[in-house]
């Protein structure tokens, strides 16, 4: 995993920081439940961090890797969360083999529909158009469920039926931690495979020069729609896990506030890196947890988050990860293995 590769133009060998950071983060997540076995509150906190990390990665796939500013990523998170909550309430069904695929399919289909409208029109959409389009979708969904009694209106849906595998129930603690970890690992590995594949090379092209890519014969907007839909699927999985873990889903879980939080997770950690959003999520949630008992700060927390975002955008656009990972490594390796692969 850890390896040094030759820098072009010289014989120096460079340590690759990114795989080291990835390994460190996942090793810490494996070790945490054993080291913190007496602290259920921290196990629950880290479980939540991992679930939200999936959500942050879904945004990163859109913005960090494909240049799609999805300012309404919580739409897929929330709708999938509501979907599994309703299936549990109305059908009494919460088997893991059925509800998690349902949540992912819900996110995927919803994102595909939105992509068809926002990305696949006659004209090439601007970043602003997509940002406002997704934001509007997220806001409209939040307002809709806020006034819809069938889905609990402003109170949301609580006491969500526990996720089951046969007769086994995923309760808060080590069981759910394991599920969240495996889900994060699976999504992470799939995303890592995508961004380092030939499709990843196309995405790198989209980020750098969309028009050039179109003139190489690529259907750029279709590629974007595919990634956007995939990200919707990941956000849907995250939303379902969140609902089961919290036992609750409410209008705020699909609104602009949570959507913006995903942006902050991603930008703080480092967009376009996959591990960056995980680090950003852990940092924000840890800070939030640590400061939650201090009333004076809790009330100003959104303002603090806003300032954090401002500082990142202005002074550290590559996020926390940019402090230890070089730009060339952050841009990464794409395409077929061996020949034609970026050497960093």
């Amino acid at each position: 995993m850890l390896r040094a590769t030759k820098l072009q133009g010289g014989g120096r060998r460079a340590f690759r920081a990114l795989p080291a950071v990835e390994l460190l983060v996942f090793a810490a997540l494996v070790a945490a439940p054993f080291l913190l076995s007496e602290r259920l509150d921290l196990i629950t906190l880290i479980t939540n961090m991992m679930i939200l990390s999936i959500f942050a990665i879904s945004f990163d796939m859109c913005w960090g890797f494909s240049g799609i500013m999805s300012f309404g990523q919580a739409l897929f998170f929330g709708v999938s969360g509501y979907a599994i909550a309703l299936v549990g309430r109305d059908l009494g069904f919460s088997a893991i083999w059925g509800v998690l695929p349902l949540a992912m399919a819900t996110g995927l289909l919803l994102a595909a529909l939105l992509a068809a409208f926002l990305l696949l029109g006659r004209k090439v959409p601007s970043v602003i158009f997509v940002a406002f389009g997704t934001l509007t979708g997220s806001y409209a969904a939040e307002r809709l469920v806020s006034g819809w009694q069938y889905v609990g209106a402003g109170n949301g849906l609580s006491s969500i039926k526990l996720l089951q595998l046969g007769s086994f129930e995923f309760v808060e603690g080590f069981e759910f931690y394991t599920l969240a970890f495996l889900s994060l690992l699976a999504i992470y590995l799939v995303c890592r495979f995508i961004v380092r594949s030939q499709l990843g090379l196309v995405l790198a092209g989209i980020r750098q020069n969309e028009e050039r890519l179109a003139f190489l014969g690529y259907r750029v907007q279709l590629f974007k729609a595919v990634i956007f839909s995939f990200a919707g699927m990941a956000a849907g999985l995250s939303g379902a896990l969140y609902s089961y873990h919290q036992g609750f889903i409410g209008p705020a879980n699909m609104g602009p506030s949570l959507s913006t939080t995903a942006v902050i997770y991603c930008l703080l950690g480092g967009a376009g890196t996959l591990i960056g959003p995980v680090i950003g999520t852990v940092a924000i949630e840890a800070l939030s947890y640590g400061l939650s008992d201090i009333d004076a700060i809790r009330h100003f927390w959104p303002v603090i988050l806003g300032l954090v975002l401002l500082v990142i955008v202005m002074f550290q656009p590559t996020g926390l990860l940019g402090l230890v990972v070089s730009n060339r490594e952050r841009i990464g390796s794409y395409g077929a293995r061996g020949r034609g692969r970026a050497r960093v």
Binding site: L201, A204, R212, A214
Partner: protein, 240 residues
């Protein structure tokens, strides 16, 4: 022989102002055709109509017998058109080899991509720079790399928009030699250019645009000998 590319009565207006007006132009298979004219003549606008950046206000564009007037750029590329933009438009953060890879991977078998990259790097004279980020290449090398990316598509028609823009005289000459070599190997080309030395070096047929209209056509020798063309280039009133 039927034309490979045929532009029939093409016009493009922006807010009522015609950048291109009723232009007819055809490019025969194997031909290397230059489109020249002073600044504001409408060359780039006509080029953009051909590549599909925007549709014409009137007229038709026919390529390989099919009407592509409303086709999107990727569809035109799919039919065998390939484009080099005016400003070097490479993927600067990616290594040179990967710039070619991205152009090749959609239509060349994976096992053959490496050899094709090597062949193109050799043609472009960029073999020693294969692993450098494209953004570190000189301006001229970026222009050649972009020509290489266009060639990677194995086009039947290569469209070059000012391939010598910003190049030194030596780089311009090398670009001319590259273009001549490609044409000698059978590549059909439509080149927008305003560097007359370059056009003299390469051209077989020339169309002069002025104020959005076709002003003159002919061989490079005929165009050079045409005093009216010299006048529009130098800004001297006709007959003065």
């Amino acid at each position: 022989m039927s034309a490979l590319l045929e532009i029939v009565g093409a016009s493009k207006s922006f807010g009522g102002v015609f950048a291109v007006s009723d232009v007819d132009l055809s490019v025969q298979p194997g031909e290397m055709h230059c489109l020249i004219g002073p600044n504001g003549a409408g060359k780039s606008t006509l080029f953009k109509l051909v590549v599909g950046t925007y549709p014409p206000s009137a007229g038709r564009i026919v390529f390989r017998g099919s009407d592509i007037t409303r086709a999107k750029p990727f569809a035109r590329v799919g039919r065998g058109m390939s484009i080099k933009m005016q400003a070097p438009s490479v993927f600067k953060a990616l290594p040179v080899r990967q710039n070619l890879h991205i152009a090749l991977q959609d239509h060349v078998a994976r096992h053959a991509i490496g050899a094709e990259e090597d062949r193109l790097l050799d043609i472009l004279g960029l073999t020693d720079d294969a692993d450098r980020p494209a953004g570190l290449l000189s301006h001229g090398q970026q222009q050649w790399l972009e020509i290489g990316m266009a060639l990677a598509l194995r086009p039947v028609l290569l469209l070059l928009d000012e391939p010598t823009a910003g190049l030194s005289p030596e780089e311009t000459f090398r670009t001319g030699e590259l273009v001549r070599r490609l044409n000698a190997e059978g590549m059909t080309m439509l080149i927008v250019e305003h560097d007359m030395a370059f056009v003299r070096q390469i051209a077989t047929g020339v169309t002069v645009l002025h104020l959005g209209k076709v002003f003159a056509r002919g061989s490079i020798d005929e165009i050079v000998a045409d005093e009216r063309v010299a006048e529009i280039y130098l800004g001297t009133p006709h007959g003065a």
